[in-house]
């Protein structure tokens, strides 16, 4: 029945809401949404060279899309994003199910354990991942040798480099998926499982018929969020693999970054950035929908 904070004066006070959100809205429009819109506008003009400022429209878009390197970037980006999301959500779900079955104290230690890599910066994370798992001086390679297994340099093959890059993303973001899925698991009323038990459902049937359907929201949200994060991460490919070998791990995010700030090809960079931004918009739309679905 309540219509507002104290609605006697609602008619006169409709403006207060706008006033209160104004600083936030201004900051977001000027600093988050503004650059995106102005970026698209600027991408339609020549940014450098003798004819800087000339209108080029969508010409550059056509050129960028037609370049042979573009297909390669799309392929490695897709491999990286899809592989990382599946790996993170899959392993995250397994760990969440496991942690959910533990008693409170153990569960908390494991939760803090998995969330810490997520909380440290990508630069430091990538650095430490490389040092621990990939360096011949790292403990992981040392342990392999200790078990009598051959040491290997993941950077020696394209597949090895991509695997290392994906694993670095899984390692970095795993905790996020675990926490989100775990809270989703906790939100499933215990009654459902008891009712299903009484109805004669086995463990797998309970998982398939109760857990999975009730977890669609958290699964979708974590996949979308991780997809956006992986699509846009510059730090991981930049530091873990440097984009190599033979550009096989150069994702679109790294490509934009390098084109703009090492090769100073702003024109191609911004065109690629706007194309990526469009993909982001689709994912953000999915995110907004699933968040709204969750909170209803």
């Amino acid at each position: 029945m309540t219509t507002g904070a104290y609605p006697a004066a609602n008619r006169r006070r409709t403006d207060y809401g706008m006033l209160y959100v104004a600083p936030t809205v201004l900051l977001l429009i000027l600093l988050l949404y503004g650059p995106a819109v102005s970026g698209f506008w600027q991408s339609l003009f020549r940014l450098d060279g003798a004819d800087a400022g000339a209108f080029v429209g969508l010409d550059v878009y056509g050129k960028v899309l037609a370049e042979p390197g573009f297909g390669k970037v799309v392929l490695s980006t897709t491999l990286f994003v899809v592989g990382s999301v599946i790996g993170t959500v899959g392993l995250g779900l397994a760990i969440a199910l496991y942690v959910n079955s533990l008693e409170e104290a153990t569960a908390r230690i494991l939760q803090i354990g998995v969330i810490i890599p997520w909380a440290i910066s990508s630069v430091v994370g990538a650095l430490l991942f490389r040092w621990f798992y990939m360096s011949d001086l790292g403990l992981f390679q040392g342990m392999l040798r200790g078990f009598g297994l051959p040491a290997f340099d993941p950077m020696s093959t394209q597949a090895g480099a991509m695997t290392a890059l994906i694993l670095s993303a899984v390692w970095k973001k795993l905790g996020f998926a675990v926490i989100l899925l775990l809270s989703g698991l906790k939100a499933i009323p215990h009654d459902y499982y008891e009712a299903a038990r009484i109805d004669g459902a086995g463990a797998f049937a309970r998982f398939r018929e109760i857990t999975v359907p009730m977890l669609t929201g958290p699964l979708l949200i974590s996949s979308v969020v991780l997809g956006i994060a992986d699509l846009n991460t510059v730090e991981l490919p930049l530091i873990v693999t440097g984009g190599g070998p033979l550009d096989s791990t150069t994702t679109v995010a790294l490509s934009i970054y390098q084109k703009a700030f090492s090769q100073y090809d702003l024109q191609r960079a911004i065109t690629l950035a706007i194309i990526t931004f469009l993909v982001n918009i689709v994912l953000v739309g999915l995110y907004v929908r699933s968040v709204r679905g969750q909170s209803e």
């Binding site: 219509t3 104290y6 609605p7 006697a8 004066a9």
Partner: protein
């Protein structure tokens, strides 16, 4: 202390009318009870006085000043909420004095009033505690104290006792009433509990579907319900209502089952369809009258409620003593004409 009045007050959300054309006067120092079933608009009406709900049309006045567009803080009213709405992070003292602090009252005056209120409510030992450290009854008193220190023009109570257990409720009911009478502050009290309504108010307004069905003193409403709704809502066990048709003499009516009921003094036209109300305590079991058979007996310890079937209708009969009766027992019912309430079958209004 103030006089509160409603003049043609309505409130609607788009097409839904939640308050319909209310006209009401609450006199200085009076305690008015708003009572009705849930969803009848009683809380909305109270919140309109407080300024927590807007007014769609009409005028609400406090001391002849139209307050429709005034902020709650400018109306000089205090309110006790159903959940108490104590500030969980403030101590009892801070809770009680917050409203005075907001009005920039001098510190020593704030303390004086807080002391006075906490003495009156027996809260002096708890001033440093937080609400979570108090029992339900103590929290209720803090909510009262917060209203009391303000020394406002009017107190508004929104079902303040509904979260207390039965015993405490009876005690607080008396305390609130005594306090209100002592201070003489105009008060409006919302409840769905008819016992609270009957015992606490100077006047009762019975509400239904956004409108006021009847206003009057408690006994007036009990003895002369203005319509069928009021008759059924006030009184427990519920009044007996029997469909009947006025007989040729205009002074009695007969039910489809053939039970003849006196209609007292009301001027009725023969053949009129009416509904006759008889409160259970007014039906007598005696040596003469209509024959009936006992169908069920409920003993409360204090009194006895008997369900009697007579001429095809079931009739509740309340006996103010303990009497042992059995199912199937034959009894005679007498129906005193003076205690009959006659309502029109069409409108439900009292005839």
């Amino acid at each position: 202390m103030a006089h509160i009045s409603f003049e043609n007050v309505s409130k609607s959300y788009s097409t839904l009318n939640v308050i319909r054309d209310i006209n009401l006067d609450i006199h200085d120092g009076e305690m008015l009870i708003l009572v009705g079933p849930s969803g009848c608009g009683k809380s909305t009406l109270l919140r309109m006085i407080a300024g927590l709900e807007s007014v769609s049309s009409g005028a609400i006045r406090i001391d002849d000043r139209v307050v429709n567009d005034l902020d709650p803080r400018d109306r000089d009213i205090a309110m006790v909420f159903q959940s108490y709405a104590l500030y969980p992070h403030k101590t009892v003292l801070e809770n009680i004095t917050f409203g005075l602090r907001m009005r920039r009252m001098a510190g020593d005056e704030i303390l004086r009033r807080a002391k006075q209120a906490s003495m009156a409510l027996g809260l002096d030992a708890y001033l440093d505690r937080y609400p979570r450290q108090l029992s339900g009854g103590q929290r209720q008193r803090v909510a009262m104290g917060r209203a009391l220190v303000r020394e406002p023009k009017a107190f508004l109570f929104d079902e303040p006792l509904s979260n207390l257990d039965a015993q405490l409720r009876v005690q607080m009911r008396m305390e609130i009433r005594a306090l209100q009478q002592k201070l003489g502050v105009t008060s409006v009290y919302v409840t769905h509990d008819q016992i609270e309504a009957m015992t606490m108010g100077d006047k009762i307004a019975v509400m239904n579907r956004g409108g006021i069905e009847q206003i009057g003193t408690p006994l007036d409403i009990y003895d002369r319900p203005a319509n069928e709704f009021v008759a059924t809502f006030i009184g427990s066990p519920m009044i007996n209502l029997l469909d009947a048709e006025v007989r040729g003499d205009g002074r009695s009516a007969v039910t489809p089952g053939g039970l003849v009921l006196p209609t007292g003094t009301a001027a009725l036209s023969p053949g009129e369809k009416v509904r006759i109300g008889i409160r259970p305590e007014h039906v007598r079991l005696g040596d003469d009258g209509a024959p009936g058979i006992v169908e069920a007996v409920e003993q409360t310890g204090l009194d006895t409620l008997v369900l009697v079937r007579t001429s095809g209708t079931a009739m509740r009969v309340l006996i103010r003593e303990r009497r042992y009766m059995e199912r199937g027992q034959k009894v005679l019912l007498s129906l005193p004409p003076a205690d009959m309430h006659v309502f029109s079958s069409d409108t439900g209004a009292r005839r």
